[in-house]
């Protein structure tokens, strides 16, 4: 077995005008040339979809090894007008500076965009982009020459519901990448519900609107997809989903699906191995809260945060509702340990959206980032405790299994945050963050905490699943084993870097890397040098 080694740029990418602070994050948005600004169509009419915000993806669209950035934008709604139509934007990472290549790449969709996911769905070696909209969704096929073409209609995935998060996955284990699209509610501006608190107009709850079933599209392998929503068992017309994560939650070798829903029970779809799903949320104790309420679920992420080899789940929820930290108790049951973990109390004052696990301080333990912000910019008019702009939360994992809030000005600057993506943008070995804000600028936060060793694995699977979605890696260093799984979409409307990053603490070498590829074959790498990105191709 031979692994391909590629050493990434280990050097510090100097960023003009941005002074690094050791042990903290730095807002480098302007310094790196990102000028993206979100619009939500706001006109004062409080259209239901306005507060949803949009997502962001970190992807290497040009295959040069560094992370580029794709930001989804909203659009004008009735009553709002913009001189120039808002559009999505693609920024190419050119050695630390981001260059807007939207026009050249042809990915500036001007529909009312929400979410995105990234994967090489056609197995041609170039990552593609799926964008969810209020209105028909878009599938940008990467042509490999720096440009994309929208093939959604031809591919049969131009879902015209109000779609939110989405994820690529191999649902039926045939090696072809399928697509899961979370649909939220049935929305029509002409019948937008008006909700008030006293004299104050506020955004309505999803209870004011009918739900909408998610969709599962099965790849036929010829570039087109078949809608298998009902046949696969994921048809639930009353659900009101926003976030999705995929992964082998019960360690049986296939990809399960978890959907965070807003005021309806969260959904846990267990895969039978052939792409048939059974919803088990209530019985697995992940559908509703401890006090038996369906919370306002927004984003969701899965990762093995307690290091026991089972993927756990974090869900962001509405203000005054704790975020969930569902600890996996063996694949069949989960236990919400949010308070025990130190996340619960801190999350209560916040309205959480974007969420992702990553080892931000490279100590070998997965930390948790949550993007926060309220719905209503006039929240104070009816809620004395409400804050529109809220600090984001970075919870650093402690040796005792708990988490501690990381008090860093760049993180805790109040913002109406929404989507978030994590990845090593500057290739210095620690995980940076990109956060979208509602009706405001996209924020790039550089992590300057790299004080420990690390290793990033870039897996190259066998075609057609060249991104190796669903591959699982067990890495052992200094006697500690960490587990990661590749994914094709997670969090809230967003897509973090799909490469697998491991913080290693003081370990200056890795003892063993065990890879279980999506087709079940295993590969073991022996002692491996650290502080680099390792590209591993499936033998």
């Amino acid at each position: 077995m031979r692994a391909f080694l590629a050493v990434a740029c280990l050097g510090w990418l100097a960023v003009n005008g941005a002074a690094a602070q050791v042990g903290s994050f730095t807002d480098i948005t302007k310094a790196v040339g990102v000028d993206f600004r979100h619009v939500n169509g706001h006109s004062g009419r409080k259209y239901f979809i306005e507060p949803l915000g949009s997502g962001v993806a970190l992807l290497d669209y040009d295959g040069d090894g560094d992370l580029d950035l794709y930001a989804v934008n909203g659009a004008a709604l009735p009553g709002a007008e913009y001189a120039t139509p808002a559009r999505n934007a693609l920024y190419r990472n050119d050695g630390g500076r981001f260059v807007d290549v939207t026009d050249a790449a042809g990915v500036g969709d001007t529909a009312y965009g929400l979410g995105c996911a990234v994967a090489d769905y056609d197995g041609d070696g170039h990552v593609d982009l799926y964008v969810t909209n209020y209105g028909p969704n878009v599938l940008y096929r990467n042509l490999g020459d720096g440009t994309f073409e929208d093939v959604a209609r031809a591919a049969g995935v131009a879902d015209d519901a109000l779609s939110a998060s989405c994820a690529f996955l191999d649902a039926d284990g045939d090696g072809l990448l399928d697509l899961y699209v979370v649909n939220y509610v049935q929305f029509d501006p002409a019948t937008n519900p008006v909700c008030t608190h006293g004299d104050v107009i506020a955004y309505c709850t999803p209870k004011a609107l009918a739900g909408a079933s998610d969709r599962l599209y099965r790849s036929r392998g010829d570039g087109t997809f078949e809608d298998v929503t009902e046949a696969s068992g994921v048809y639930l017309p009353d659900s009101k989903g926003l976030g999705v994560t995929t992964g082998d939650l019960d360690n049986d070798g296939d990809t399960d699906i978890f959907v965070a829903c807003d005021t309806t029970p969260d959904l846990l779809y267990r895969n039978d191995g052939a792409g048939k799903y059974e919803e088990r949320g209530l019985f697995a104790a992940v559908a509703i809260s401890r006090e038996a309420m369906a919370y306002g679920g927004m984003g969701v992420a899965s990762a093995d945060f307690d290091g026991d080899g089972w993927l756990d789940i974090a869900v962001t929820n509405f203000q005054d509702q704790t975020n969930f930290m569902h600890r996996n108790m063996g694949g069949v049951y989960f236990q919400d340990v949010s308070f025990e973990a130190g996340i619960g109390a801190a999350s209560l004052p916040m309205l959480g959206w974007g969420v992702d696990f990553a080892d931000f301080d490279n100590d070998g333990r997965l930390d948790l980032f949550v993007a926060n912000g309220h719905l209503d910019d006039n929240v104070q008019a009816y809620d004395p405790l409400g804050e529109y702009a809220q600090p984001d939360s970075l919870f650093i994992a402690q040796p005792d299994g708990s988490f501690r809030a990381f008090d860093d000005p760049a993180i805790t600057t109040p913002r109406p945050s929404r989507g978030a993506a994590a990845g090593d943008i500057d290739e210095d070995g620690d995980i940076d963050l990109v956060v979208t804000t509602l009706g405001g600028p996209l924020v790039v936060l550089r992590n300057d905490m790299r004080v420990r060793h690390w290793l990033t694995l870039s897996l190259v699977g066998k075609a057609p699943n060249v991104g190796a979605l669903g591959a699982r890696v067990r890495l052992t260093a200094n006697g500690v084993t960490q587990t990661r799984e590749t994914h094709g979409g997670s969090g809230y409307l967003s897509h973090s870097d799909a490469r697998l990053h491991f913080g290693l603490g003081a370990a200056s070498s890795v003892g063993q890397v065990e890879i279980t590829w999506p087709d079940g074959t295993k590969q073991t790498l022996g002692p491996t040098p650290v502080d680099r990105t390792l590209v591993v191709a499936q033998p």
Binding site: T205, L282, L385
Partner: protein
């Protein structure tokens, strides 16, 4: 559709959804800490919610009209306003107390703190509690309320400290200990939380919310038996704690009882649906802009509580409604019913008469007085009230039914039938009214009219076993053997253990269908199902006798006599059997 039977969440718009949890707790905060203060002898308790609340408010207001310097009356009035969650007028009283000087400053700042908490202004509430403590640091309930305000702000470290201050002054306060436990759990200090909840329960075993929390804590530690015990205890103490059902379902799943889990999950779904409606009304009441509107919504909530059998909660809710709007006759009437169900008949009568003073033509109040009389076992008085209610409101089904029931009890079947007929006029879709109309017609020797009424009852509700049975009996007596047989069989389809139907069939087989063997089989079945029935034994004896099985006939009739030794008919039967045997 795995969630087809699960309906969770709230039917509210976003801001209602967002605010509800906190607001509900806010009101809980005020009621809770009033209760704690009351326990310390410093305030009136929510339990004081009763029929005299409007009168007490008016009395204090009268006192203040005579002498505005009476701070004791202002404090008492403020507390009463807090009790009914009328925060603005409460604040006016407390501010007036403070304006008069520092003499009652500790109490006034505490009261003001509660009014701020009621308005979700917890920072302001804490400031007032701090001021109260600055005047008098030894009032545990103020420290506790301060802790609760911090908890509402999710500032659990400060909440824990404040609760501990309260407990240092009142170590035996179970409620404060329970709240401390909740704060500790939210801070992730599970073992400490568990210890506090156990201590709370040790001193107040019926503290349902502590039982629930303890169940959750045990469940989190996979101590299934302990968790199950606490969840069950919580449910037994307060059926509104539906999350205990969910917790029990989870335990069933975790311990391998999938069927049990499914049953519990279904129960949970039903209970959740019920609590949703309660939550919707609570939310509406909290958002109501004026007292009259709020009183009306609370009256609706009280009615729902009555329907749910939550009489004490109904009493509290109606009492608040009455205090918020003393002219709301329906609330007084509802309060009367709740008090009746709680067997507080004197207060119940006071409430109903208050309703009638407001609205002398209020039929439901007369019906309420009828119910009180019934409970007091005064049927004549009850009949008078119910008749008056029915006269005032001919659409009041319950009044007609009660009149019918009372007259039927007096064997006045003709008059009873008239009352039930009036009931069917009030609601032609009420199967029970038709059933009893049929019964009274039958007892009044009007079989055809009776069958007609039974038929209407069955058309409305085909699953009425008793109506099928009575139809069968009546048809048997009329000699309609086949129709009787069909009706008995329908009754038995609906209830396979209906002993009287088997017995009726036995008689039918023996007397009209000329099938003695069939009669015997049914008689044996009836006797087996109800061994204590002497009548069934007698029928069995008769059938054995007709079959010439005299030994068995003798055994059966002796069994009947053992059950009813003085029954001359059975004795005569025994003699006849013995006589035949001799012959």
């Amino acid at each position: 559709m795995p969630f087809a039977y699960i309906r969770v969440g709230r039917t509210r718009n976003r801001e209602k959804h967002m605010r509800h949890g906190r607001t509900a707790n806010t009101l809980g905060h005020v009621a809770l800490w009033l209760a704690v203060a009351a326990a310390a002898g410093a305030a009136s308790a929510p339990d004081a919610l009763g029929v005299d609340l409007p009168r007490r408010i008016e009395a204090h207001m009268a006192t203040l009209r005579d002498d505005p310097t009476r701070l004791d009356a202002r404090l008492a009035l403020g507390r009463l306003y807090l009790t009914i969650e009328a925060f603005d007028p409460a604040a006016e009283q407390y501010e007036a107390v403070l304006a008069a000087g520092p003499g009652e400053a500790a109490a006034a700042h505490h009261g003001l703190g509660l009014t701020h908490a009621g308005g979700e202004r917890f920072d302001d509430a804490i400031r007032q509690y701090d001021l109260s403590i600055s005047y008098d640091a030894d009032r545990a309930f103020v420290h506790a309320a301060r802790g609760s305000a911090y908890a509402h702000l999710h500032r659990y470290d400060e909440a824990i400290e404040a609760y501990r201050s309260a407990l240092s002054l009142e170590p035996g306060d179970a409620m404060v200990r329970h709240q401390l436990g909740l704060a500790l759990a939210r801070n992730g200090r599970i073992d400490d939380a568990l210890a506090e909840q156990e201590a709370a329960i040790a001193s107040m075993p019926d503290l349902a919310s502590a039982r629930l929390e303890l169940g959750s804590l045990h469940s989190g530690a996979s101590r299934w038996e302990e968790a199950r015990r606490e969840y069950r205890a919580a449910l037994a103490l307060d059926a509104d704690l539906t999350q205990a059902l969910y917790g029990l379902a989870q335990i069933a799943m975790r311990t391998g009882d999938a069927d049990g889990a499914r049953v519990l999950m279904e129960q949970f779904a039903v209970a959740q649906e019920r609590s949703e409606e309660v939550g919707r009304l609570i939310g509406a009441a909290q958002r109501a802009s004026d007292r009259t509107e709020r009183a009306g919504i609370l009256a609706s909530l009280g009615r729902l509580r009555l329907q749910q059998g939550a009489y004490d909660k109904a009493r509290q809710t109606y009492a608040k409604a009455c205090a918020l709007d003393p002219t709301l006759a329906g609330a007084h009437g509802g309060l009367g019913v709740a008090l009746t169900m709680l067997e507080a008949y004197d207060d119940a009568e006071t409430a109903q008469r208050a309703a009638l003073r407001i609205d002398p033509g209020m039929a439901r109040a007369h019906a309420g007085l009828g119910l009180i009389a019934l409970r007091r076992e005064r049927p004549d008085e009850a009949l008078t009230h119910y008749r008056r209610a029915a006269d005032l409101d001919p659409t009041l089904l319950d009044a007609h039914m009660k009149v019918g029931d009372l007259l039927r009890g007096e064997r006045a079947y003709g008059q009873a039938a008239e009352a039930y007929a009036a009931a069917t006029g009030a609601d032609a879709a009420d199967a029970e009214a038709w059933h009893y109309l049929g019964l009274c017609r039958a007892l009044n020797d009007q079989p055809d009219e009776a069958l007609q009424a039974y038929g209407r009852a069955i058309a409305i509700d085909p699953a009425r076993v008793e109506t099928h049975f009575l139809t069968a009996e009546l048809r048997r007596r009329k000699g309609d053997g086949e129709l009787s047989l069909a009706a008995y069989e329908r009754a038995l389809e609906l209830d396979v253990d209906h002993a009287r139907a088997y017995h009726g069939l036995a008689v039918l087989y023996a007397t009209q269908l000329e099938d003695v063997d069939g009669a015997l089989a049914h008689a044996e079945k009836a006797a087996a199902l109800d061994p204590a029935s002497a009548r069934y034994r007698n029928t069995l004896a008769l059938i054995y006798y007709r079959l010439g099985r005299l030994r068995e006939a003798e055994d059966a009739i002796r069994a009947a006599l053992a059950l009813e030794p003085d029954n001359a008919t059975y004795r005569e039967g025994l003699e006849r059997i013995l006589g035949s045997d001799d012959g």
